[in-house]
Symmetry: C2
Subunit: 352 residues, 2 copies
Amino acid sequence: MMQGVLDIPDELQSLQDIVASGFERVESVFARQLVSDLPPVDQMCEHVERYRGKMLRPMLVLLCGAASQPDLESRVRAGSTDLFISDEHITMGAVCEMVHMATLVHDDVLDEAEIRRRGKTINAMKGNETSIILGDYLIASAYELCASLESPIPSRIVGQASAIMCTGELLQLHNRNNTDLDEDTYFEILKRKTAALIGAACELGALGTLGFDQQDHPTTKALLGFGTDLGIAFQIQDDVLDLTGTLETVGKSVGKDLEKGKLTYPIIHHLNNASDQQRTLALEIIQEASTGDQSRISQLIDLVSETGSIQATQNMAQSFVDSAKARLTDIPEGPGRPMLRLIADAVITRSH
Amino acid sequence: MMQGVLDIPDELQSLQDIVASGFERVESVFARQLVSDLPPVDQMCEHVERYRGKMLRPMLVLLCGAASQPDLESRVRAGSTDLFISDEHITMGAVCEMVHMATLVHDDVLDEAEIRRRGKTINAMKGNETSIILGDYLIASAYELCASLESPIPSRIVGQASAIMCTGELLQLHNRNNTDLDEDTYFEILKRKTAALIGAACELGALGTLGFDQQDHPTTKALLGFGTDLGIAFQIQDDVLDLTGTLETVGKSVGKDLEKGKLTYPIIHHLNNASDQQRTLALEIIQEASTGDQSRISQLIDLVSETGSIQATQNMAQSFVDSAKARLTDIPEGPGRPMLRLIADAVITRSH
């Protein structure tokens, strides 16, 4: 999990192994849910399964499930996974990843992206129409899987988080090419389009351990807050990588945000802090960005770096990571806390 | 309901009034679920609400709910709606309509349709990207609303029906421009893309009355079968109207099926029954159809009528309506049966 990103110290290795073994169960539930009696549907689902990368959301479901156990330390020492990773956690992990994948498939249509996880996107291979319906199939399958649980609470949480994600995307589309976009609206977009599902994954993990009627439990609320802050930090890092990364390091098309008229924090910060002359030049490049001229975009990145706006963005992401970590004082002591802190750090040190 | 299509005899007027009063409750639940704190999202949802036309799916939820009551007749005479139209029926009716609207919004993107219910489509007004996400928002809101019910069974049924609908659309896309498409595959596409949700609406209606653990009850199974047959008939009629209707009568863009490479029953029947010469001409026009040349498409409709393929299609739709009606012998006697028979007839006599 988070391969090559997390450096796990010895004392957390047992917990890491247990969570990693849960991953195999998540993957098998995931694959089983998407099996169809139609070969062309199966082929596309197999291709989409290659999109799975960091598996951040299932990892958070499992890890927050573990971290909500008051006696996690002794349970880990006993070494039995199923003592605290239930079938419900596995199902909810698969559901969150499936919802996430559905949004990736639709995002690639919106972004006209060609490459994801170093492979061709579905829209590049099969066209936009198939991508739209395949995304719909993934989301419907996710809901069907979620409704296989006895409690309706996970379905409520996942349905609500998905609806909020969509309002975030709609708010972003509404502000396309809006060079006056303010920080508050930017953060509102992030909170909705990315943080809602990551927060839900953490909340579901806690509820799977504490009971589905425990939405007001301090641990549940702390982990929901942790996931929300983490999700914002994650998206800020994504926005930085879209500017500073390369196809090679990130594994997907970059420079797409400006091309699609999305103003992200580095640009907003730059426009608010640049000299009149720098600002005029930046606005000029932004207005031309839809042409996808890479040399002009590189010029903008240089400008943005000069005003310290890349650094300011990284500081902002760091502050959300710090806020996420601070919330962990409200969850039980034990190896869950340092493990979640490691994940939080990894979210903004990652280069892909 | 089904305004201008149904001619309700006096003895069914009380049941009709009761079901119609349920519609207002469905509409208010529908509108309440889609309220967002973001004005641009609200505006689009208001526009989409104009898409609501026949409300076939909520009507079937309510009517199948009523028809599953063993003592419907005396309850109708008592005149109290809430005796047999529960809040759960209302919620499930709104859910089915919301899922249906989500598919309309995405279908319009796939079909590049400009007009729906005599108004501009969302894609024509706001672009494909907004339409994709708005469709996602509608489906997420539908699931969230469905999960507000205590039982997870409706969410399972709706999730499964939605996933099946998507496989139907994917199968259709996979067979685009396939002039060898056979009848079996055509019916498989219809069963999935249209009949699954209409069948689910009827099943949900029955379960709302009989209890959610009654999926194997003869009434539930009969109404599920009724809805499935009706859904197939409905889609066959839609396919006929796309060939023979006009924008004015149908209220949406027509002639789209051929333009998008979708072979429907009239065309399949024609290709299988035409002389070699007629067949060659038909294939030629089909291959050119993507240009949208209306005079060529009119020529094809004439050809298709000559071989009796329009009539054969209408006979096929009629046979599914007959099959649907025959299933009603397994539901309780009372005014529900003749009312459902009227609906079944209206599905293929409609001109829009």
